[in-house]
């Protein structure tokens, strides 16, 4: 996922939760990200700082933690399981960039290492969740 879009989405979500829960201040946001989203922590931090410049006071003391979940696949054809980390190096730069923009393109560029089927399940390490938001009323 694009890091700036992610930072914007996280801050937008935090403000929405603050409104729903009547929070006057948000102190911590924990975001879980699937490895397949191929987010750079450094770029995300830079994007988050930029997004935070125009935000209300309720976010002025917030810390945001990213937890990256390793991605794993299971072949629907032969049941073989493998990790994204094991095959990442086989992707060229354009393929890596495609997966960065749209993680589901992994189905285009990756195949089961055992039977070569593209019909595999992403069993973990996909998507983004705001795991927790801590604040004060």
């Amino acid at each position: 996922m694009h890091e700036w879009a992610l930072a914007d989405a996280v801050v937008t979500t935090a403000k929405k939760v603050a409104k729903e829960e009547n929070l006057k201040e948000i102190t911590e946001i924990v975001v879980k990200i699937g490895e397949l989203q191929t987010i750079s922590r450094e770029i995300f931090d830079t994007a988050l700082q930029e997004v935070m410049k125009d935000q209300p006071d309720l976010l002025k003391n917030v810390t945001c933690t990213l937890k990256i979940e390793p991605a794993a696949f299971k072949c629907r054809n032969c049941q073989h399981q493998w990790l994204f980390a094991d095959v990442k190096a086989s992707l060229d730069d354009d393929e890596t960039e495609s997966i960065h923009f749209i993680p589901e393109t992994a189905h285009v560029f990756l195949k089961c290492p055992e039977c070569k089927s593209p019909d595999f399940e992403i069993i973990k390490g996909r998507g983004i969740w705001v795991d927790s938001i801590v604040g004060e009323k």
Binding site: H2, T12, D94, F101, P103, T105, H107, G127, I128, W129
Partner: protein
């Protein structure tokens, strides 16, 4: 909570009308009509976006002759490349000519990702080319884009009309606005949709034997009888402009 869902409305806030071109069956001209609509609206001076969500059968790029499959520019998200004055996003930008075998959940995630990262900015119309049938993509679009309107394409065939009836029932149940119904490929059979769906009928597009040879050439498509017919739909234009 998936934070991507919360930014979609913001990404589309400067888009005046969002129209999904859909239909119950494949091969009835959804992609053609979505592409031609985008071309003629852009030609008329409107700011137009075209989003191809038919991931497994993307074809608007073939119809439009789009061949620049480089990644979109980035600036606080991705910026749709301009093609014939259309802001255009297709999965082909990311997979080029490779097959994209996405199952339902994968397609849902890909739609969510595209809607969350794409900066459409100011548009008069965003035309969405939908895959055939009522499926995950239809339900996703209804869930993610609250202002969506559907333009349903049919043919005179009983088979297509029957599926359209069921599609309309679903849209009505879900309280989703119907932009209208277009009957495509009518000649030489008799037009039928107007009698069956008088309230929502926009018009009839006769079968155009010359269209196939215009595919890939936007200038010729803009002059095709399909384009001329779409431009001339009074009811359609009143609603669109």
């Amino acid at each position: 909570m998936d934070p991507r869902v919360n930014v979609i409305e913001d990404r589309l806030k400067e888009v005046k009308k969002i129209i999904a071109v859909a239909g119950g069956k494949g091969g009835i001209g959804k992609s053609t009509i979505a592409s031609v609509l985008a071309l003629i609206l852009a030609k008329a001076g409107h700011k137009v976006g075209l989003l191809d969500l038919d991931f497994t059968g993307a074809s608007t790029h073939t119809i439009l002759g789009f061949k620049d499959f480089s990644f979109p520019d980035e600036d606080k998200g991705i910026i749709p490349p301009k093609y014939h004055n259309i802001s255009y996003i297709t999965i082909e930008n990311f997979v080029e000519s490779h097959a994209a075998p996405l199952r339902g959940e994968d397609a849902t995630n890909a739609i969510l990702e595209l809607l969350a990262i794409t900066r459409w900015d100011e548009l008069d119309f965003l035309i969405i080319d939908m895959p055939p049938g009522i499926n995950d993509t239809t339900l996703d679009i209804i869930r993610f884009i609250k202002r969506i309107q559907f333009c349903i394409i049919t043919t005179p065939s009983k088979v297509t009309i029957d599926v359209v009836k069921r599609s309309l029932e679903l849209l009505k149940d879900l309280d989703i606005p119907l932009f209208g119904i277009i009957e495509n490929m009518t000649y030489p059979s008799e037009p039928v949709a107007e009698k069956i769906f008088p309230e929502h009928f926009i018009g009839t597009i006769p079968y155009d034997e010359t269209y196939e040879s215009a595919i890939g050439n936007p200038e010729r498509i803009k002059e095709s009888s399909i384009a001329n017919t779409l431009v001339n739909f009074t009811k359609f234009c009143e609603k669109m402009c």
